[in-house]
Symmetry: C2
Subunit: 343 residues, 2 copies
């Protein structure tokens, strides 16, 4: 390393950084079927396939213990990893959990956290099989790795979308983002007036979406039961724009997304009005919804239309046409996404 050269991480951004650092990554093991660059890796275990994903959650970056109950945090730490496994159309089976714990935590606090972990394991039928526990100088550190299984070659990556495929998304988008804005606002009010208790009762839906997301196991089940094999799939953790651009880049295609087709919950609409932001912006850039975004062949349209919890929001075009949002007013905007840029 030449000490005179210093490239700031911010100059590459999250995805650029990962691409840069893994550009020379070799594959040696015949069992490595799918490596870096999707929701999860796929490993062939003697002819059967195992799916692996991992997430790192850091206090002050991914969660704020001031308004995040530890039980919810434990649940969410597991849920977001399972979401990556489901996004491969695979079934999660085991997780490992590593924690870095500062001495401000009591055993009782950790018990609460584990209650949430166990609740998610029970709900999604996975086993906690290992981990590592260590002290941390500052801040709570959570690392979860999830393992799943899938029938040979039945996993779905980000790179199979074809021209004319339909773009679908489960549930609704933008709620988690507004839930977070709400919590941040109430935190600020509380810090300024410690006597005031926040009233979040009426906003249970939005707050629930950010604090206790549920991975869409039900959608994966339904697709399998109805014999629909998506051509590409990803879970919505960073926001619809970012995820759709991942699919387009990996699949080497473009897309048209219709603003008026993006599913938004009534509570999201009402709160977006309060915060004076557009609902589409919340859906496109908000993230943390943990819905499934996927593409299907046109012939599966009739089947898909029977599931009211899945919306068709656009279609895939040739790469040269780019990725665009068609607004309600009829204007066409280029889709953009940042990923994080906390540096």
């Amino acid at each position: 390393m030449d000490d005179n050269i210093r490239t700031e991480i911010s100059s590459l951004g999250e995805f650029g950084l990962i691409d840069h650092l893994t550009r020379n990554n070799d594959t040696r093991q015949a069992g490595t079927i799918l490596s870096i660059g999707d929701d999860a890796a796929v490993i062939d275990q003697f002819g059967r396939q195992c799916v692996v994903t991992t997430d790192l959650l850091l206090e002050g970056i991914h969660f704020d213990l001031m308004y995040t109950p530890l039980k919810h945090l434990g649940y969410k730490a597991v849920a977001v990893n399972l979401s990556d496994i489901y996004a491969m159309m695979a079934t999660p089976t085991q997780i490992t959990l590593s924690l870095g714990i500062s001495n401000k935590f009591s055993v009782e606090a950790l018990e609460e956290f584990y209650e949430g972990v166990y609740a998610a394991c029970e709900r999604y039928n996975v086993d906690l099989v290992g981990g590592d526990t260590t002290s941390s100088k500052k801040g709570f550190v959570i690392s979860v790795t999830a393992i799943g299984e899938v029938a040979p070659d039945k996993y779905v990556t980000r790179n199979g979308a074809k021209v004319n495929d339909l773009v679908c998304v489960s549930g609704n988008l933008g709620a988690a983002y507004l839930g977070l804005q709400l919590l941040e606002r109430e935190k600020k009010i509380f810090l300024e007036n410690p006597g005031v208790q926040p009233d979040l009762e009426s906003q249970k839906y939005l707050v629930g979406r950010i604090l206790k997301p549920e991975p869409r196991a039900d959608i994966v089940d339904w697709l399998q039961e109805n014999d629909i094999m998506p051509t590409a799939m990803i879970d919505v953790s960073d926001g619809l724009s970012s995820e759709l651009l991942h699919i387009c880049k990996k699949s080497e295609v473009g897309c048209i997304l219709y603003e008026d087709k993006i599913p938004v919950h009534d509570d999201t609409k009402a709160m977006a009005m309060q915060f004076q932001v557009g609902t589409a912006a919340c859906a496109l850039s908000g993230g943390e919804d943990y819905e499934l975004l996927f593409t299907i062949r046109q012939e599966d349209y009739e089947k898909i239309s029977r599931n009211y919890d899945i919306s068709v929001i656009g279609y895939i075009t040739e790469a040269k046409e780019g990725a665009h949002l068609q607004t309600k007013g009829g204007a066409k905007h280029k889709l953009t996404a940042q990923g994080w840029n906390a540096f």
Copy 2:
């Protein structure tokens, strides 16, 4: 949770805390063969077995960037996880790597770290298949998960040691601990007199043992080639005492360990003298040697004695006789171990 109760984590210690938090951990998946409590978990993948382990490394707790070259750190982060896979008599095949990075890091610094990661992957023939990269408010956070494979039921746990089995250890012990003491001493001198450059050239062996440990893949290979199936196995990360007590507890046996049989490198002896500590203490409590500690049946003694890199250091007794160290002077001391207690 009753807010009036607060149990300090330090009152349980590392192992007590893990036992406490996982006491109600259920197993739901038929594929979960071995769960929390060993070097790695074992998962049945349709009749074949997959081994998983994970480690969390935090700046200021596990490493000091003042004297740890980033390339070595990347190498070590991988190596210590592979060591856990080898300690199951399994073969590592893939890893995932998650990083929390503060903005003090440049892209070039991360490249150095990844160089070490890739060097370890190449040396041990494993693939880096995934991970997560995030910003960190403070401190470098590293989480590695390693996956390996093993022929059905050919893995070795901590709980198979039987009375009269021989206790064996690979390589030598205590060197990593003294390497660390040396680095800490030179750091202190440097901080007090920034002009003085530390002379570590003459202590390459000890410093190498702490900064760039090698997991004992060669020992696992040799045992397999010579058809020796250890009855129990663990890698030495916390120190000989702690690891041997794990085997005793899990196997429900006792042991006698002979101080004069503990293998110690000449450089370790010389440095122990400088630091005025006993070499046995360094081996027993030092940790980070990443050697393999295992038990074998007496009938394998002749075979084992042909490998000069394996020492027989004691034998297994009935549980009621406890775990003891027999000193060079003939005295008998109860073995004790703390695990970490940084809280």
